[in-house]
Amino acid sequence: MKILHILNDGPDRLSSEIIAFQSKDHDVTVIDLSKQELSYETIVDSIFSADLVISW
């Protein structure tokens, strides 16, 4: 399963733990919005190509 985690304000302890646990069994991708590295078009594509999105 493809899970996208969106970090609105960068990583924190809880999101990091959840991401680490889910990464054992799932295809996990992380986008850190605070780094402003990706275009919004790319972010939208990532959102819809994932099966589940979790924002933090």
Partner: protein
């Protein structure tokens, strides 16, 4: 088919629980995960907890101080992956 929505409660507990109740208005199956912190107890929160139960919502926590069904953080991570949508508040 009813959507499975997971609500992760970190801070802003009042609003997170009020929002969780609202989600049941469209027949979502709501699971609430109270993470790390002890859930405050006041009139609103106690009523919201009761209402979530009345609406067949489930409340879990990784903090034994909370008198809800206990799950480890790892178990909660897997439960979140099983949801159709996750709202981390």
């Amino acid at each position: 088919m009813a959507k499975k929505v997971a609500v992760v409660v970190r801070d802003r507990q009042h609003e997170a629980l009020r929002m969780a109740i609202g989600l049941t208005l469209k027949d979502a199956v709501v699971s609430v995960y109270v993470m790390d912190n002890k859930l405050a107890s006041d009139e609103n929160i106690d009523l919201n907890v009761e209402t979530i139960g009345d609406m067949d919502g489930k409340i879990y926590s990784n903090n034994p101080e909370n008198k809800f069904d206990q799950l480890t953080t790892e178990e909660i991570a897997h439960a979140l992956a099983d949801a159709d949508a996750v709202i981390a508040y």
